[in-house]
């Protein structure tokens, strides 16, 4: 199996994630898309670890998972607070700062 295929998948996942961040309006979905991007990076790391023949990339993948978990804690706290005060998690409603 050609390792480059995994890189194509990683790039595809990353693209889907970043399009989702730009297009979707619900903060939770935007956040899920960001997690998808992080996992795309993880896949790329692991693939490169395989191609390069060392373990550094796999170690990095573990660190990314821990950091992503911390990000979920902080992110959901913020999104839940916003949802409780305005009964909506849409990023379009949060526009008091526009003018």
């Amino acid at each position: 199996m050609n390792s480059a295929n995994y890189l194509y998948v990683a790039a595809l996942l990353f693209t889907i994630g970043s399009i989702g961040v730009v297009v979707r309006r619900n903060a939770i979905v935007v956040f899920m898309c960001i997690e998808l991007m992080l996992n795309a990076a993880n896949l790329a790391f692991v693939t490169f670890a395989r191609i390069n023949g060392n373990l550094d990339g796999q170690v990095m993948a573990f660190f990314t998972m821990v950091v992503a978990a911390c990000e979920v804690v902080v992110g959901l706290a913020i999104i839940v607070t916003i949802y409780r005060s305005r009964r909506s998690a849409s990023v379009d409603d949060a526009s008091l700062l526009k003018r």
Binding site: F14, F48, M60, T64, I78
Partner: protein
Amino acid sequence: MTTFIAPALSYSLLAPILIVLGGAVLGVIAEAFLSRAIRPTVQLSIALGTLVLALAQVWRIRHASSLTAAMSSVTVDGPAILLQGSVLIIAILGVFLIADQDHFTTLAAALPGSPEERDAQRAGEKLTEVYPLTLFAVAGMLLFPIATDLITLFVALEVLSLPLYLMAGLSRRRRLLSQEAALKYFLLGAFSSAFFLFGSAFLYGYSGSLSLAGIHTAVEASSGNQVFLLIGLAFLSVGLLFKVSAVPFHAWTPDVYQGAPTPVTAFMAAATKIAAFGAMLRIFYTAFANAYWEWRPLLTIIAVITMLFGAVVAIAQRDIKRMLAYSSIAHAGFLITGVLALNKSGLDATIFYLFAYGIATIGAFAIVTLVRDSSGEVTDMNRWAGLGKRSPFIATVFATLLLAFAGIPLTSGFIGKFSIFSAAYESGNKAVVVVGVLSSAIAAYFYIRVIVLMFFTDPLDDGTSVVIPSILTRATVIISFAVTIFLGVFPTPLLNFISSTAIFIR
């Protein structure tokens, strides 16, 4: 079967970070076990104590240089010491401002306007979680500019960002605005760190190594797939440029600066810039120095549009915090000019500029916290009219800091701009220098407009006044004023210290 070898750490060189992290953990424990009445005092002393201790330790190790402080994942050298010292000084001044608890909500979890919030306010409760959060952010900022492998860089980036996302949402007044700022900062920040991570993956794929030294070797030998290098470089830069708020990755800056509680804005604006530019200097000067044909043209364009955009859009702002935000975008452009120079004087100039700008920024936001009416801070610029007649001292200090931003002689800003532009000129980047001087001139217009508004307009009778500052806030204002003037008149000692210390080791 391989045996496990324990990592060798030189604790004295890592002590500044470890002290700050220790203080943060201590703060979390204090938050859990102490009674509400004594918490504010205890937390403030823990925060200030650890920061001062860490600063003293940075001073003790100021001549140290080591590649192996933590198994080659951090490098302690001259620039590292200077940047860590600057971050700690800014953080101490920032904690002085944060100590004025009037800016923070009493109960971050309560709904705005809910009975719980009113009860907490009536009971005079104070929000003390902000101190440990600040310390965690500071620890990340101390680690970010010294990290020399991609894992440490990414972890430090997140450690400095995550507490700041939360701190942006803690404002007492206009809480919806503040929560919105936190949401925007979080979503865009996480978006940009995903780019940073994806870039790291491709740099790892290019060089087969996670360390900046390994990437440098691969770049020098131009081994590996150049496409991977380009993808990695581009995506990594997006993450860094977001943190320093360069155009086109600046969209969060005005909103977050405006929505966050002003003491947090002050701390974040000054300290994040130092940490992020520190990391940027290290990455571009050590890992990618030999690949400058790849990144210099694009970074030049970004520097030019950042300077012009920041200066031009700031003219249209009516809100003082937004104006300072756009001015910080313009300053990010000037600082990128220093990074672009890619020579020793560029490095020295950027470090000097970062320190001078950070001190002036924290002073300017400290003054914004003081101008209030009955419902809180007044950030509408029109209502600052005639401030010079009401409180001449505060208005004079603010005017001086604005002149420093504009780069008028006898202030630190002039020395900073002069040394950055001369470094860029030396490196043959004349076009950028022309744009830089031009946008400085545009920027001077809106700084001076505020000064005219403060001194030569009659005050409005709408209850806007300058509150009597607390001792700590007063200290911040006076220190930043004094340092700004001192560095403008006698810059030589600091410039010499920087140029004799700031040498990257690989």
